[in-house]
Symmetry: D3
Subunit: 306 residues, 6 copies
């Protein structure tokens, strides 16, 4: 191959720009070398095939440059689809779907299907992955959860995380892909909220970072004013915001999860907009960052209102 | 607690008899210490809850006394049930069910459900297990399989076994529970015959023993005469029997699998009657043995016609 | 081999009962997996050839199912026999035999002979053993012991246990068989009471269990009433019993040893009747238990007077 | 921080393009994971401060994404400068500078100075490096070299490479930076041609890749026609070219080195234009490749004359 | 402390001479670093307390400077003493003492006593030792030996050496002290000739050196002429000497042992005069050497007749 | 070889005396097994070729008998020689030579030259060595040092020692040879006083011993009276001496270094007379000791005035 004339010069310039991008990634690679990053994967990024592939590419890249990513995923819409498919009806309590025995059975089937399909996507890109549920290796032990005192069926909250299997997989260079199913002390299966599971795992495994892929830009100071996105929050700020009562419904438990994780030793929790392609890479490898970061120390107020 | 009077003596006798049973197990425990035993789990032993629990107890005991058991399971009837449940129709080719895309999706869901329920049963008895499919860790890579040249859908035959994940699990004291799903070179999912998968895994992992739990007593010299059960077969004997044309339809591929496994280095393959409770323990811990054993060297003719 | 007719059914029933015994052992195997069990071996169980073999079988089984047994043995009667044989006379102080230089020489010879014969018995059953005295690897360092201030010769009490050699042997899958001889700081040999040696070793090596094989049923509340055997004792109970003054002479130092061991971290100490065949197995693998157990926490009062 | 309006969109596009570059690097990172890459560093890239920094950045990035780079460097012009500085005169034999004792002393001083300055540049970017000469750990043992039979002083050719120290450094995550000084069997110091040293080391250490940073674009089919740059060569091609007599003087020994390295097991040797910034990255992370690659199998003829 | 005047100078000279001796040991320490040296310990060096201590000092020094010494010892005279002591009579066959059951019992007791006393001597000098017989760890398995077809009782010849226990001890920094007792396939004890045991162990453990401590100066060309001591022999020379019929009775089996050991991979066998203090050190750390060395290659004829 | 007549007897006596010297070394070898000994090498012992070789022999012997020696060296006179050679002038501040940029460049070149020549001397004696500066592996990080507030150029004092590289080399059996150059936080090179560097390294690496090779006999109570040499000092004594104002100029910082090292955990610091051949061996392997030892506990007053 020969380099000559104008096109050659042009091509070279492009190549050099590319090299420059790689070089810019240096400090970030150094910073997270061998660090564990838990990615709660959900929302649009699980539905849109293109976004899905990009998330997986990000995870694979993180693994290849030396990080230790873990995926925790949900499967919400897919579960509803299959509940319908088999012609089952759904009971509601306090507006919440009740996970009775047959629903749990379907939930488990669907979550495992999603789980293994993520495994294959990762392996297609040349990295070994292993799909587990919280039942494997006794990883997630739960207590039954009630909604305002009412029975909502087989919905559990994490009581104990046994991280042995996850550590075994990480040490042997597999990417763990985890679906949020656990067992109670009698070994019955329970569904767990994926955000809660990700938070419990990140805490138990002493992750450096926990990233929630969501369908919003991040946390807003004023939810009704999209110009008030906050880029960085200390946990004091977070508590204040929650106290202020302006935090939207879906964000509230997530923010509480963030606070829990930070208090249990996770350094940074990120609420990312999963609708942005490669949002994980952008967050980790650029100075700008995207979404909202919750930090583990009294962060200087970084965020500005606009 | 006091030992006195007649009852005490009687109790003691019973206890001593129990101690004697444990002592009799000594040579078998020594023989299989650290050896890998692949159990193909299927048939009635997967349906009857009592038999199921006894198989799991056997596997747990094998693990606790130092063996390294691996379970490979199918899920046949359960798959049919769910295919019906969602109202799907089934195409047939050469009398074989065609595994089209939607069927494959259901098969995978069901097999994973069965897989995780076996994991929980094992963990309930205090041993850690991990449920994987052949997709995890790239364990089973398949080629598409045809039936007499006709397309029967996503049915694969094992091309390569990558035993890394299985070894990782065994070394870290987990019991691998494997469902027979693999991927082709394009990472599409395929269903694999569980007998074939068990045989391929036993071979790749250099198992000491491969045991098929079936719904028949074993191999008969004359299938129509139940008095002609054969207790031990060399592979020469096996080939001769096959040549003789008296081997029943279901047994033929199983026998061929046995021959393959023995030729690839597995020491012994057992065809056990899964309807007998604790058939695994009985086979391993007693002199009598049950079912039919296929041996890896020119075994003396042990079997007699009656 | 064929299963048919009545005899077959009968045989099968027996086999199933055997399988059941093995299954019942499961929880005990799990509980003591990789745990160290020190067996003080002495009394009738060392004299009667049949009992001897059964103790060794028990130790071998414990080893094979994953425990880590250590044998500490005495050799009392055998020593006296040889002292007579060479026509030596014996001095007594406070009714205790004085271990002068020539007696010590014979004691060491005899104990080593017993030691190596136990090694061979274990190896005959297919498990590797190594016979050591406390001189090997500097395992037992002693101070000279006096009886009420009077010199009784080369009788030592354990000052330090160096557990390196024992750990090396355990880690390399050998059963250590230890005879109770130690050296003082000038490297002279001393005889040690085997109970004391077992207790010191169990403590230093952080054993889970210490079992004394004795020639009595256990501890009696009232030594003269054989109906008052105690099955479980807390150390408070034990101290109370000692204070009560009803404990027989031979049992007193043994009970003090038990209290010491429990206080130094051994979980359970057992006083077993070595005259019962397979007493070790019975104690470990059955719910009933035999003999008297001294526990490391305020055990509920389990024992009843009858 | 908020994303809004046009600038935000524009910024995001740039960020996404950057993410894309990282994703494109995936297959190359996978391919060279844990592979050893020997970089012969010399020419303009050692003189121009900006180019120097870019080479070091490349090496640091290679290390961080999981490769194992080794630098072998010369120091030519710097040596001449110091020989002048101390007012020494230079003898010539066959037009070659004679490395007498005082010259060797200066050469060693200068090469070590260059060596340690490269170490500091690497460490400045956050990666640990260790500067060694072939004397350390007995790494390079030489024979005296003659020029057409004439004595040219302390110039050696590599007789043995002892790779222990290099392996120790690689395994402990240090980047070895090696200056081409060795000792003969009497432990006298000798200067070694840096190309030869790099080639000998790459061979001994079983490197995946050996890259020569030079001051030319690569190998030309016709040296006088800069349009005849060859992008890929098999060793047969290389031999043919050499036979053809059109290979320029400086390139001849380099090409022979390449052939040697390929024949000894190095997969690919690259002759790169060190004057192009980030030439190492460009070669490794882009499809285009730059310079001339010599391959270890009968490569298809890739190159075209223009 | 001050250095002054004449005495100081004198003292210093002595110290320097000592330093010089240490420095002279350098090449020998390097040569045998981590090498296994089997010492057959017997004869006068086991009887004379001063010689005994010096042998042990030598072994301890060898251990401390990095060699791996193993002692194999006999106990001949001591056994006879105890056989007499218990008033036993001795049968003879072909002039050889018959080792009947009671004799074997005493032999084992005495050998173990000697064994443990050597252990204590070594430990007194600060190095850990472990005394084993061939029964421990199944180290020495024997066949019954006959003398010209006649039964001489429990005298065995080594059939198999299982070196696992010895390796375990060496790797954990213990000096193995081995007494030559083994078991046959039925686990009966047998006495083994110590020279034979040492030779079998040296061979199995792939020792670098095997040294026999004897009561003669070495091998003589003409046994009746003490001026014909041979300092080095090839195995060809040894065979020739044996053929010549001039080799004395006691030396003949020893020489055959030497030939066997050399042929099985031991590099050098030494016949040393155990009556010379520190003969082991002298042999290993000086150029002169003492006694007779049998070499594993066609050694040049080093020896001269005088 | 034959032993006969008078000469033989005489030779043997000499050999035995040599063996005795080796035996006398036993307790010292035991004491320092696997212990780290930092040798600050400088003064006459670096100039006189014969003394140099003897120091290296000592270091090699220490290594071979199991110690872990580290050499830290200076290069003072050699640096001045080269500064003159290139015709540079020297600025002075407070009577101290200013290390400007060009001087630093020469210092680094010279120190590295000295460093590698020591490496070769060690390797010539058969032990592997690696020459590093404090720049390698980020071993020595410095702060700029001022002399009474005045700028004296690139002279640093050690701020941090990163011992990873040194540990890596020690664990892999290399002798580290370290020249006292470090970098500041901006990665500029600085010269460090070799005594200070040795002291900082000994402290960081938790050395057992730190030995300064100097050109004086040791510490004198009264510097003007050479009869007042002190053989042992507690740090209290040392402080008292310093307070007394009788300590000579060159000795003052060295003594302060000693106190620092002892306070940071080094057990013993020695000030040795490097002009005495084998002074290291004499200090370590003889009871007498030479020079002055500073001890880490309230040593009894050992020293006497004469």
């Amino acid at each position: 191959m020969l380099w000559k004339g104008y096109q050659v010069m042009k091509d070279m310039e492009i190549e050099l720009a590319k090299a420059q991008v790689l070089i810019e990634a240096l400090p970030y690679i150094q910073k997270f070398k061998d660090k564990i990053i838990v990615v709660k994967y959900g929302g649009s990024a699980m539905v849109d095939e293109d976004l899905k592939r990009k998330v997986i590419e990000d995870v694979v890249l993180l693994k290849l440059v030396g990080f230790k990513p873990i995926i925790v995923h949900g499967g919400g819409k897919e579960i509803s689809k299959w509940v319908d498919k088999v012609g089952m009806e759904t009971k509601f309590v306090n507006g919440l779907r009740v996970t009775d025995e047959p629903t749990m059975e379907i939930a488990e089937m669907v979550l495992n299907k999603v789980n293994k399909s993520l495994v294959s996507l990762i392996e297609e890109l040349g990295v070994k992955a292993v799909g587990i549920s919280g039942k494997d290796g006794g990883t997630l032990i739960v207590d039954k959860k009630y909604s305002e005192g009412e029975d909502i069926g087989f919905v559990g909250e994490v009581k104990t995380v046994n991280p042995d299997l996850i550590h075994t997989l990480l040490e042997n260079d597999f990417v763990p892909v985890i679906c949020p199913i656990g067992v109670d002390d009698d070994f019955h299966s329970y569904n767990i909220n994926a955000d809660d599971a990700a938070c419990a795992i990140a805490t138990a495994i002493k992750a450096e970072k926990l990233a929630f892929l969501t369908d919003i830009e991040g946390v807003y100071k004023d939810y009704d004013n999209k110009d008030t996105l906050i880029s960085e929050l200390s946990i004091e700020d977070a508590r204040e915001l929650i106290g202020g009562g302006t935090i939207g419904g879906g964000m509230l438990p997530k923010l509480n999860n963030c606070i829990d994780a930070i208090e249990s030793g996770v350094s940074r929790v990120h609420i990312l907009d999963g609708r942005i392609p490669h949002c994980l890479l952008l967050e980790i490898f650029t100075n700008k960052g995207i979404g909202t970061a919750i930090l583990n120390k009294d962060a200087e107020r970084f965020y500005e209102e606009k």
